[in-house]
């Protein structure tokens, strides 16, 4: 009875816990202090704080206090279960409720550790969302040592311990997020940054693997860009269609997915797996959201410790964290895209200005030379000339005309980005072009595939026509008799944004891998004629429309150009 009154008098505020509160960063010291405080508060002989190992579904003794502890009794692991004989703590971790055992000799859950133990009291450490983090357990050599008051006091101390544990997790996560934020802002290499995100996500979420898929608009697929484990070798190769598998579902619906295991989920396809399905303990994926649209999917997995281990689920808190990571990434990707576009535009503008001035000067000189040449020709026409002299005059004239052709190319290049925007029925433009080219080049077969619904875009009809013509002409140039050009136009919807996708594929020699980087650069050509501004102009036009163009063919299998342009509704076609 004396012990009990002491319990009531002793208030938590007086305790040395409050001195420790200022040193809250040291969670271990705090938990130890709580344990010691507990023994004193309820007059117990010894006690433990055990924490849940979610991965194995076991309870691990982490802290012990009181008399009689030895090495081999330390670090014991108990299966968390309602089955008897697995320790009282383990049953409390299972039930999530305090448990008073007045006499251990009659208790089914009791696991004998000390011969003098007579009674026990165990309370759970409950974290956010009712999750059991661990168990605070005290015991006494007296029978029936613990009652209602002890339960109350111990529960209060347990809640402080639980709070300290949650806070520690929270602080670790916060710190990592701040660090990642700094890196996202400072890392210029986008691939290194994606790696970093998967690394941080794995570490913070206690996940065994993390993969990041980003949308590639030109092929309308999610492409694996970074992964930690097994899938690493598939980076750049593994792809999901929108809506395909859980990953595709997350991207298409712009919603997170959080499951225990994946076997049995109807959305699961298991195309690309970090783990065998039966090894997956829990799966979580969130969309990576950019300013305007979903840009990709970030997914994490936990592996089962062994096949019969319980599911180690991702919590709501985990989901929030993954969302935060994904949002930070989305913002960084947005910024990167903006910078890239700005740089390209400035680059083009600089080239444009330089080109315009140079062309103006050259044009003037060429004009003068043509005039002088003409007068020279007239003056010489009265004299008897050698045939070779006539030829030389002709060559000079032709060369001058060629210079003028180059000037025109340059002008086209500069003008490519100056658009006169109108609603344009892209379907009609493509159909007309294909008809014209099919007539002009009967030795090549043209195949056109289009949706019944016409596809509209906001654009400069002349420039778009030029761009598509250039691509078709490019194909024609490299095709032999009997070659084929397939053109496909379709509308694709991508969370909130509709895109027109135009695919031009030919059966020519294709573009060598090592040249792919350069084909869209100005002044690159493998053709003898012209300046090689063709594809650079095409890209300039498409970029200026807010679209993308890429070459996806394989060398030896023909060229494959994919253009995407932001689509508009046909009804908008009538406006403006």
């Amino acid at each position: 009875m004396i012990a009990r009154s002491e319990v009531q008098e002793k208030s938590i505020e007086d305790s040395r816990l409050y001195q420790l509160w200022s040193a809250i960063a040291d969670t271990k010291a705090l938990l130890k202090a709580i344990l010691e405080e507990s023994l004193e508060a309820v007059n117990a002989t010894r006690g433990t704080i055990s924490l849940v190992d979610y991965r194995t579904g076991e309870l691990v003794t982490e802290f012990a206090a009181g008399v009689g502890w030895s090495e081999e009794k330390f670090g014991l692991r108990f299966k968390i279960t309602h089955e008897p004989g697995n320790s009282i703590s383990s049953y409390v971790a299972y039930s999530g409720m305090p448990y008073v055992c007045p006499d251990v000799t009659k208790d089914p859950y009791y696991y004998p550790l000390f011969p003098d133990t007579r009674s026990e009291l165990a309370v759970p450490l409950i974290g956010r969302g009712g999750r059991v983090l661990g168990v605070l357990n005290v015991e006494s050599e007296k029978v029936n040592a613990f009652g209602k008051n002890e339960v109350k006091v111990l529960s209060a101390l347990a809640s402080i311990a639980a709070f300290a544990l949650s806070l520690a997790t929270h602080q670790t996560r916060e710190k990592a997020l701040i660090e990642l934020g700094k890196e996202l802002a400072a890392t210029p290499d986008i691939d290194a940054l994606l790696e970093k995100v998967t690394e941080v996500a794995s570490r913070l979420l206690d996940a065994d693997d993390c993969s990041l898929f980003l949308l590639d608009k030109s092929i309308n697929r999610l492409v694996l860009r970074a992964s930690r484990g097994l899938l690493r070798s598939m980076v750049g190769k593994a792809t999901y269609r929108l809506g395909e598998g859980l990953t595709g579902w997350v991207a298409l619906n712009n919603k997170p997915a959080r499951l225990n295991g994946v076997v049995g989920d109807p959305r699961w396809k298991g195309l690309y797996l970090e783990l065998k399905p039966e090894e997956i303990s829990a799966f979580m994926a969130v969309p990576v959201r950019g300013r305007k649209e979903v840009m990709g999917v970030l997914r994490v997995l936990r592996k089962k410790a062994h096949l019969s281990a319980p599911h180690y689920l991702f919590s709501e808190e985990d989901e929030e964290l993954l969302f935060t990571l994904a949002n930070q990434l989305g913002a960084a990707l947005d910024r990167e895209e903006l910078q890239r576009r700005l740089f390209t535009m400035q680059h083009i503008a600089t080239i444009g200005e330089l080109a315009a001035r140079t062309a103006h000067m050259i044009g003037n000189k060429v004009f003068a030379m043509k005039g002088a040449l003409k007068e020279l020709g007239l003056q010489l026409s009265n004299l008897p000339l050698l045939e070779s002299t006539q030829r030389l005059l002709g060559s000079i004239e032709r060369a001058l005309y060629e210079v003028e052709t180059l000037l025109q190319d340059l002008r086209d290049f500069v003008k490519a980005t100056q658009l006169n925007l109108q609603p344009v029925c892209l379907s009609e433009v493509v159909r007309e072009l294909v008809q014209d080219y099919a007539q002009e080049f009967p030795h090549i077969s043209f195949e056109l595939q289009m949706d019944e619904q016409p596809v509209w875009v906001k654009g400069d009809v002349e420039k778009l026509r030029n761009a598509i013509s250039e691509l078709i002409e490019n194909s024609v140039h490299f095709l032999k008799e009997g070659g084929k050009i397939s053109i496909r136009l379709a509308k694709s919807t991508w969370v909130g944004q509709k895109h027109a996708r135009l695919i031009i594929r030919d059966t020519g020699p294709g573009i060598p891998e090592k040249l792919k980087e350069q084909i869209f650069q100005p002044f690159f050509t493998t053709r003898a004629k012209g300046m090689g501004l063709g594809l650079a102009i095409v890209k300039g036009i498409i970029d200026a429309h807010g679209g993308t163009i890429e070459e996806r063919g394989r060398e030896g299998e023909g060229a494959l150009f994919i253009i995407t342009l932001p689509a508009i509704e046909p009804t908008q076609g009538g406006e403006n």
Partner: protein, 152 residues
């Protein structure tokens, strides 16, 4: 044949145009800048029949200034604008403000000098027509003015 002023800051170009037009029997003056051109236009007597001017010289709008000076001197002077590099937009602006025509200096495969000579011929005809019309208008107005008086 016509009295023509050729304005271009490129000496070779001026000379080549002058030679070409003189072959057609025109009397050709030249000016090497916007300022020199405006000076010559103001002091011309009688005014030039046709002024051929480069669009871009001292400024982007040199051609426009030469056009203004020409029309101020004689509203029926025909002005042809030359553009070297795609300043078509400026040239179109000149057309709106009363230029007779414009010509791109660099059209691959086209003999621009012959084309210019042709445009000058047309400009001369146009000017002659306008002058004729003006004369008829004046002779028409005089009797009307005479008739109106008694009614007052």
């Amino acid at each position: 044949m016509g009295r023509i002023l050729v304005v271009d800051d490129e000496e070779l170009a001026r000379e080549a145009i002058k030679l070409r037009l003189e072959r057609d029997g025109h009397q050709v003056d030249t000016a090497a800048s916007e300022a020199e051109a405006i000076e010559k236009i103001r002091n011309s007597n009688p005014p030039y029949d046709v002024v051929i001017t480069d669009m871009v010289m001292e400024s982007e709008n040199s051609g426009l200034e030469v056009l203004k000076a020409s029309l101020l001197r004689d509203v029926l002077t025909e002005v042809i604008i030359l553009t070297a590099y795609g300043s078509v937009a400026n040239a179109v602006e000149c057309l709106k403000r009363g230029a007779y025509d414009y010509l791109e200096k660099n059209i691959p495969g086209v003999d621009v000098y012959d084309l210019l000579a042709l445009k000058v011929e047309r400009a001369m005809e146009h000017r002659a027509e306008s002058l004729g019309l003006l004369k008829r208008l004046q002779s028409y107005q005089q009797p009307v003015a005479a008739q109106e008086e008694p009614l007052d």
